[in-house]
Amino acid sequence: MLSIASKVLIAEDFEMTRLMLRNCLVKLGYTKIEEALDGGQAAAMIEKAASSPEPYGLILCDWNMPKLTGIDVLKTCRMNPKTIRTPFVMVTAESERKYVVQALSAGATDYIVKPFTEASIGKKLEKIAARLNR
């Protein structure tokens, strides 16, 4: 169940994009937002949260990041029974079909291509929540 009470992780090495995603989430009503600055940090935060009383309810993850790529963060997430179903959205400048297919095949819930506007992200996240909460 994805709601504005869910805890969200933004995994993104560029500050500008983290800011845009955070602004969008705040406008949608999300209040529990955490950030990882590279893939290694993201994987560690996801694993730690999974064993805590409040795991992440949504992960927004870049592809090209230092230490561990987003696709590898996704694969790691899907290998853990506790996070195998966590909504995981790739947010990346990689728009080629082969990367979309690769991400969805690896278990991504959805795929958002940069550049994006806050409005487009908002609409996308609302659709994802509606789909997951059916």
Partner: protein
């Protein structure tokens, strides 16, 4: 077993210029809600990008073929980043540096996708950012440079593709 790519070499022509211009416009329109204008592109041999901050990214197929450079004067990037951060900038701080890196990344990814749709096989890459008031970037590639001068709300920036191919 060694495999060789059949990807065509990058050609500096009107099509590449159009792709670069479309990619820059899309990035700017979406991120900053402004449409940059450009003067006609040119082919040059010894153009030196000038700026206070530049994003640089390698364009690699089977081997390195070109370098994409996006160069900004400080006033230009300050005005652009103000639209995202909703505050004034007076120095090229880490927010500005990262912003240039991300902008270069987004422009390159768009160019890459359009070229790869045409049979090329350009790979993902991570940009570098060069900082220095009035710095120049000297092209050491053997080939020509595609240079597109842009203006964003009257403030200049350049996009350059420096290639290995003569």
């Amino acid at each position: 077993m060694q495999t060789h790519s059949n990807a065509p070499r990058l050609v500096v022509d009107d099509q590449l210029a159009k792709i670069a211009i479309q990619s820059v416009r899309k990035a700017m329109e979406t991120l900053f809600t402004l449409t940059p204008t450009n003067t006609p592109w040119s082919l040059q041999k010894n153009f030196q990008s000038h700026g206070d901050i530049s994003g640089i990214i390698s364009m690699v197929q089977e081997k390195m073929e070109a370098t994409l450079i996006v160069s900004f004067e400080a006033k230009t990037i300050f005005q652009l980043m103000k639209k995202v951060y909703k505050r004034d900038f007076t120095t090229i701080d880490s927010s500005i540096q990262q912003g240039v890196g991300e902008l270069t990344n987004i422009i390159y990814s768009s160019i890459k996708q359009k070229l790869n749709d045409r049979g090329h096989e350009f790979k993902m890459a991570i940009p570098n950012v060069v900082i220095g008031q009035g710095h120049s970037i000297i092209n050491l590639h053997e080939g020509q440079q595609l240079v597109v001068p842009f203006s964003a709300d009257g403030n200049p920036f350049y996009v350059e593709v420096a290639t290995n191919q003569s």
